[in-house]
Amino acid sequence: MINTVILSYVTFGYFAAFMAYLCMMVMGRDILGRAATAITLATLGVHTFAIILRWVESYQLGIGHAPMSNLYESLIFFAWTIVLLYVLVEWRTRNRSIGAFATPLAFLAMAYASYSPNVTERIQPLVPALKSNWLIAHVITCFFGYAAFGIAFGLSIMFLLKRRQSPGGRSTFLSLIPSPSLLDELIYQMVLIGFLLLTLGIITGSVWAHSAWGSYWSWDPKETWSLITWLVYAALLHSRLIRGWRGKRIALLSIVGFACVLFTYFGVNYLAGLHSYAKV
């Protein structure tokens, strides 16, 4: 199928964008930054086209559904949400340094989807439980939430790096990273967006589970881990809003939060895998 071929090239597009952002950070040349943005935008365009193409191809196969139904499709969509959200952030902040921390996330998601032997890229028909209008709402809200947390994670790493900058230090890389106070504010904004969307994702999943399985909450590992993630970010918000935590603590909490996101997304399968391994 042509869409998977295009998507495997998209992986390289994001890698090229990452390299361009990185070169810009090291050499401090503005032209490299503009090139990085151009590569990112062009790749995002191709990426969008490939997702639509995959959607169309599924209908041509007679099993039409939105391309959000298995690990491959969700990884492709995850990368797409990260880049889309990043482009908006770049546009709003007029700062390209964040790109060096956001595009690698998209590249890794794409590479995992395209080149891992454990991820099937075939278009599969929907099993009965997935045949629901809630599928699209659930996937979109969850993954935009994950993407916002992912960018908050990138910003947190930037924050921790920026702290190492000695006054009067001449590292181009560190001087291009925005000021700690701006990073702190951006982390907070991203977490707000992510938290609202994660809440919506849990709610849509819950309403869906109620109509598919008869229970809006059954403590299955994925549900539980999404709640754990929610609790961690709720703790972050309370510590910042009420106790006035700023800076390093918030950055660290945001990194812990994103680790929970990743565990909710991938680790849960690994958990189940651990158990089946232990049974042998």
Binding site: P125, T199, L231
Partner: protein
């Protein structure tokens, strides 16, 4: 509930439960113990894990309810403490919020103007009164609760917006409580059960999931038909059960599919699983040795007497099994032969005799009960067993759901308002300065100071545009 006497507020308990430090500890603790529940197999999954534990450890796990973390007493204590913390916190802070809501600050306050950045002020050549005449209607359009005070050669304006944002956090906390309340209502007044109904069969009781005890439904459910369809790649496409509900006067038919449950008299039915059981019809191949030799295909129904082709008597298929002795040997039927002369005898005949051959030694198969040629001169071969589907239904009643849904609805609005709106108070000072007028704006916000700064800059430049001022900054 809130103590009126402020001295009472010093009660250690109130301070303890109204602290955000407690909230943080509880949130992190809940997250941590939730992890425990995803690492240790819960409920049905525990058996295998428990076998690997020493008896002492098993006792410890049981005592701490580690095999059902999310329904354990200590998990409930954590949740209840969080709920109490939420309530006390909200009650503790509500009076201040109400005061802020009711208060209307004086228009001529000086403090907000202590550090006015240049973007928030401008000069115009027009007179104070004239400027106020232009500014006030514009200001009133955008801000509520506006007030004005006129000084000797000055005009002061005050206004605010986004007052509802002050309550957003209470809405969020209330919705969390609603969701928890829904959970309690559901687990105390509702039930979760399951039932299997074969095609053509009916039930009036289901089995509770937790205690496995029967739960009378108060009406009868018949399964008229069940169907499963597959995609070309073999994965399931659709499960469909045609059901009829018969309760007192009313009878209703419904099609049940995954994601399309059906509610009858307050009880919801979900298509959850399916399986097959043998029906009542079988097809047999009866071989008669000697003279006259013959091979006859016979359709028999359970319990129905069938004459033997040679006329030596009759036989009855008196038992049909889906899986003989549950040993993976496949379907089997028991043939009970009643010959006209000699003793009755019965033996099992298999659909897949090769499986039996691979499992059992020759001598065992010589055992008459498993020998298809036990009644000479006949050999019975089983060629087909009718299968019937049964549908596995999840049967629930959950009166807590409306509370949960209300909580979901409110929390989304609450979070949106809490995160992206803020309560802004704005002051404007219009005063004579030299031969012109100086206009200054200042604002405070309960959150998002960056956004408030931007709003003040925009307000100042909009006013300047409307006044046609030269933009000379003072």
């Amino acid at each position: 509930m809130k103590p009126k006497d402020s001295a009472q507020k010093n009660y250690a308990a109130w301070r303890f439960f109204s602290s955000v430090r407690l909230t943080l500890v509880l949130l992190i603790l809940l997250a941590a113990v939730s992890i425990v529940g995803t690492v240790i197999p819960q409920r049905q999954g525990m058996q295998e894990f428990a076998q690997g534990l020493s008896p002492g450890m098993l006792e410890v796990f049981r005592a701490l309810q580690l095999f059902d973390v999310y329904h354990s007493f200590w998990f409930r204590i954590l949740i209840s403490t969080l709920a109490l913390n939420l309530i006390v916190c909200s009650l503790d802070r509500l009076p201040a919020t109400l005061r802020r809501l009711r208060s209307s600050p004086k228009p001529d306050r000086k403090k907000p103007f202590e550090e006015t950045p240049p973007e928030h002020r401008f000069r115009t050549d027009r007179a104070v009164g004239e400027v106020a005449g232009v500014v006030e209607p514009l200001f009133r359009k955008k801000y509520k609760k506006t007030s004005r005070k006129d000084g000797e050669s000055e005009v002061f304006l005050y206004g605010e917006r986004g007052r509802l944002s002050l309550f957003a956090v209470y809405v969020v906390h209330l919705s969390v409580l609603l969701i928890l309340a829904g959970g309690i209502v559901g687990s105390t007044l509702g039930f979760e059960a399951f039932v299997n109904i074969p095609e053509g069969g009916s039930v009036d009781t289901a089995r509770l999931r937790d205690t496995r005890s029967p739960k009378p439904l108060g009406f009868r459910v018949e399964c008229l038909d069940f169907d499963v369809s597959f995609y070309e790649n073999g994965s399931p496409k659709e499960y469909r059960a045609e059901l009829r509900f018969v309760g007192g006067e009313s009878t209703q038919e419904a099609t049940l599919r995954v994601n399309h449950p059906f509610t009858f008299q307050g009880i919801r039915f979900y298509q959850a699983s399916y399986g097959s059981i043998p029906g009542n019809a079988v097809e047999l191949l009866i071989r008669r040795e000697g003279s006259p030799g013959a091979e006859t295909r016979v359709h028999a129904r359970r319990g129905e007497e069938v004459p033997l082709p040679g006329g030596e008597g009759a036989f009855v298929v008196d038992d049909i099994r889906q899986d003989f002795m549950r040993m993976g040997m496949g379907p089997a039927v028991r043939i009970a032969v009643q010959p006209t002369a000699g003793e009755d005898l019965a033996f099992w005949v298999f659909l897949h005799p090769e499986r039996v051959a691979s499992r059992f030694s020759e001598s065992f198969r010589a055992f008459p009960k498993l020998n298809p040629s036990a009644f000479e001169p006949y050999t019975f071969l089983l060629s087909d067993v009718e299968t019937r589907y049964y549908t596995g239904l999840q049967v629930n009643r959950d009166p807590g759901v409306p509370f949960v849904w209300a909580g979901f609805f409110l929390i989304v609005f609450g979070l949106f308002a809490a995160f992206f709106t803020s309560h802004r108070r704005v002051w404007i000072r219009i005063e004579a300065a030299g031969d012109g007028t100086l206009v200054r704006v200042a604002g405070t916000s309960n959150k998002n100071p960056v956004g408030a700064e931007r709003e003040m800059t925009q307000l100042a430049s909009r006013l300047r545009e409307h006044l046609g001022a030269q933009g000379r900054q003072a």
